[in-house]
């Protein structure tokens, strides 16, 4: 699966990888961000 050109729903997690970090990574691979949220499981 190529990230280039994909439209991405980013669902990060506070105790894992947060949404801004995922956004930066998938953008660097050429994907477009449609939505980004960091969840918090307690």
């Amino acid at each position: 699966m190529k990230l280039q050109g994909k439209r991405v729903l980013v669902i990060g997690e506070r105790d894992g990888v947060n949404a801004p970090a995922i956004e930066a990574c998938v953008k660097s691979a050429g994907a477009e961000i449609l939505y980004a949220e960091t969840l918090c499981f307690v």
Binding site: M1, K2, L3, Q4, G5, K6, R7, V8, L9, V10, I11, G12, E13, D15, G16, V17, N18, A19, A21, I22, A24, C25, V26, S28, A29, L34, Y35, E37, T38, L39, F41
Partner: protein, 105 residues
């Protein structure tokens, strides 16, 4: 995934469709990854949220799956992910992903 989040994703999909759309997750446990991936593909399994009974059919990937990591700019990976990758049991966390993507559920 909380109910508000499900509602926001439903809204985004309504506005943008699902063509070429994937989800990229960052949760640090297999259970959390599985719950989110199933919700986005097949609908809310708890039947509590806006996505109950709504199969969006969107495939999910974990940001630390090798096929995703291999496409990330190495400098960005070092800055954003290297530390999380050390702290996470990656094999365990990504174990459900392929099964969920390939299942009909």
């Amino acid at each position: 995934m909380d109910l508000e989040g499900q509602g926001r994703i439903q809204q985004v999909v309504k506005q943008n469709g699902t063509d070429g759309v994937i989800a990229v997750l960052g949760a640090n446990s297999a259970a959390a990854v599985e719950m989110t991936a199933v919700t986005i593909k097949s609908g809310d399994p708890s039947y509590a949220g806006p996505l109950a009974g709504i199969a969006l059919g969107i495939p999910s990937y974990h940001i630390l799956e090798p096929e995703i990591v291999g496409q990330i700019d190495p400098a960005v990976y070092d800055r954003e992910l290297a530390l999380s990758a050390l702290a996470m049991d990656i094999d365990e966390v990504i174990a459900p992903m392929r099964t969920i993507r390939e299942s009909g559920a």
